[in-house]
């Protein structure tokens, strides 16, 4: 039986009907949970702002649990599944493997997400998304997460199956395009992630039901972070693939070197997941050898991978722009980039914030000694809002501005809002990241309801600067929430009410002729990228300075006298 497909007018890609429906369903659910989870985020940030202190304690921990789950797990993973189907079926131009299983995966994930959300909202599962034992949640909390994980695993295998079909039916020649390769890396990391999750959460479920009497806390934390951390590396692989995708579709940019970019992704496959150990850097009972091997020696190879992408993504944008004639000076290519196209601006802001805020802070705090300064302070959420919100979430938002015309075939409503959205959201998220990091450096703990410590036996006052930063964090949260709200309005509004696009309509934000490079293998010839090299230089100087500042700071915390 031959399945129906259409040829996309702008990219020349084949879009099969069943793939299109699956992408739509997964993306829509993702966006709904982003809206819900984002509101919880705002309520937490307002609670941590001393002057506002919005929620009472029990609601704070409930909201914190719901926030972590709905944005970090539900939003991101549903969206990633949409990306996997896009990167396999659409980019390779082949039908999706076993659409029935893909729908079963979707149903399991949705049911799982709902079950866990209900458990949290009932109020007896405020265990944070990490659910560290011996904190005990309602059994349905774990059941929901397990169903969600099983669904995700099925979806990953639908992706691998689709790769096999494309190869058998010869819908492409030679190697898969780079974006598909990056998505494959994300799916590979997902398999390890989900296996770790199953190994630890199934016994934890049995424990919460009373069938198992004891789960060792350190064992739990070790295996759980194989799940919790690795899932962040799925995000990294996915959003870097999206950077490549957007620069190909919006600018017709080809990779500077397929070999180098793929090698960087290979470093992720081999090493990135080991970084899970950075969550255990202060846990007693595990040797420094294990900690340092997993968080330093091996992980720096994966960091090398990220730095390669940090060079090649802006590099391929520069090369494509210079080919279009933007050749004056170092930075004309950047000034004349399509800053009014939210897909591009969102992608580029994601790249910059992820590298400068998330990347630098991540590597520095992953050093065993330096970690002591900030462990379990609000510096940690500061860091990961730079990675997973400014990096991943903003990249996913950016690509949604392409998916709406290409997959939903609707024109964007409120183009002015769409244009401004990445800037507002980017600014807000940069604010929450920087201010939480700043407050954390001054010792403000994470996951704490009351910064005034009113019910503590020994009173403690944080320095005024810390309170100031938590206030600025609250204001930035309002800005980020506003940016998130605009995104939801534009996307949901466009899907429901946007002008239908068919062959005759003109897409307002149209990808160029050469967008089809996204589905091809091949390097840019003779690229010259002086501007990118200069930016990379600035990055390295910032990196080195920040690294040494932290050692100096550590030396002051524990002076040698």
């Amino acid at each position: 039986m031959l399945e129906q497909y259409r040829i996309c007018q702008t990219t020349g890609l084949r879009v099969f009907q069943s793939t299109e429906n699956l992408i739509k369903a997964n993306a829509v659910v993702a966006v709904i949970f982003l809206a819900i989870g984002g509101l919880f985020g705002l309520s937490i940030a307002l609670t941590r702002w001393k002057a506002v202190h919005l929620l009472p304690a029990d609601w704070f921990y409930l909201a914190l649990t719901a926030h972590g789950l709905d944005v970090l797990v539900v939003w991101i993973v549903f969206f990633e599944i949409a990306v996997l189907y896009f990167a396999s079926s659409v980019i390779l131009g082949c039908r999706i493997a076993t659409p029935r299983w893909a729908w079963a995966a979707f149903a399991l994930m949705l049911i799982g997400a709902l079950v866990t959300n209900v458990a949290v909202l009932m109020g007896n599962s405020s265990v944070m998304f990490t659910s560290y034992v011996p904190l005990k949640a309602d059994p349905s909390f774990y059941v929901g997460i397990i169903l969600f994980a099983v669904g995700t695993l099925i979806a990953c295998f639908v992706f691998f199956g689709t790769l096999v079909i494309a190869k058998q039916e010869k819908t492409y020649e030679g190697s898969v395009p780079l974006v598909t390769f990056g998505a494959t890396v994300a799916a590979i990391i997902a398999v390890f992630t989900l296996a770790s999750g199953a190994i630890i959460l199934i016994p934890t479920l049995l424990w919460s039901m009373g069938y198992i009497s004891h789960i060792d806390t350190l064992m739990y934390r070790t295996v759980w972070w194989g799940f919790g951390h690795s899932s962040q590396q799925i995000n990294v692989a996915a959003h870097i693939s999206i950077w490549y995708l957007i620069s190909a579709v919006v600018l017709g940019a080809k990779p500077l070197s397929e070999k180098v970019s793929r090698f960087a992704f290979l470093l992720y496959v081999l090493f990135l997941q080991l970084a899970s150990a950075h969550h255990l850097l202060v846990d007693p009972g595990i040797s420094s050898t294990w900690k340092v091997f997993n968080t330093s020696y091996a992980i720096y190879l994966a960091v090398l991978g990220s730095m390669i992408h940090g060079l090649t993504v802006p590099g391929q944008i520069e090369a494509a722009q210079r080919k279009k004639g933007y050749n004056n000076g170092m930075f004309e290519w950047l000034r004349k980039a399509p800053w009014g196209n939210p897909a591009f601006s969102g992608m580029f802001i994601s790249l910059i914030l992820f590298g400068f805020l998330g990347g630098i802070s991540g590597v520095v705090m992953g050093v065993e000694q330096i970690n002591l300064i900030i462990h379990n302070t609000i510096y940690v959420p500061g860091h990961f809002h730079a990675t997973v919100v400014a990096g991943t979430t903003l990249a996913f938002m950016a690509v949604t501005y392409l998916l709406v015309p290409l997959i939903f075939r609707r024109a964007l409503i409120l183009p002015g809002w769409a244009k401004a959205q990445p800037y507002l959201f980017g600014l807000g998220v940069a604010g929450i990241s920087v201010f939480m990091m700043g407050a954390g450096t001054l010792g403000v703990p994470r996951r704490h309801w009351d910064i005034s410590q009113a019910d503590a036996i020994l009173p403690y006052d944080f320095p005024g600067a810390a309170n100031l930063m938590m206030g600025l964090n609250g204001m930035s949260a309002i800005l980020a929430a506003l940016g998130g709200f605009m995104f939801i309005v534009v996307v949901v509004g466009s899907i429901l009410f946007g002008k239908k696009i068919d062959a005759s309509t003109e897409v307002p934000i149209a990808p160029p002729e050469d967008a089809r490079v996204v589905g091809e293998y091949g390097n840019e010839d003779h690229p010259a990228i002086p501007g990118t090299i200069a930016l990379v230089g600035v990055f390295f100087v910032s990196f080195i300075l920040y690294y040494f500042v932290n050692w100096k700071y550590l030396a002051e915390v524990w002076p040698l006298r």
Partner: protein, 58 residues
């Protein structure tokens, strides 16, 4: 061997030899195998071994 012989040898080979790295990168299931075993050994198994060998307090 002269240049020409080389050329002949390459031509007579049905398909040109694919470099090792390319074969690795083109094989998602081999990558999947590596991506699961490496962290399982270095992170999970090694970590769990250290935890189970912690002596139990009396």
């Amino acid at each position: 061997m002269s240049e020409e012989n080389h050329q002949e040898a390459a031509d007579s080979n049905e398909s040109e030899r694919i470099p090792f790295m390319q074969q690795l990168l083109d094989n998602p299931f081999l990558l999947l195998f590596l991506g699961v075993t490496i962290p399982t050994i270095f992170y999970i198994i090694w970590g769990v071994m250290e935890i189970v060998t912690i002596p139990i307090a009396k």
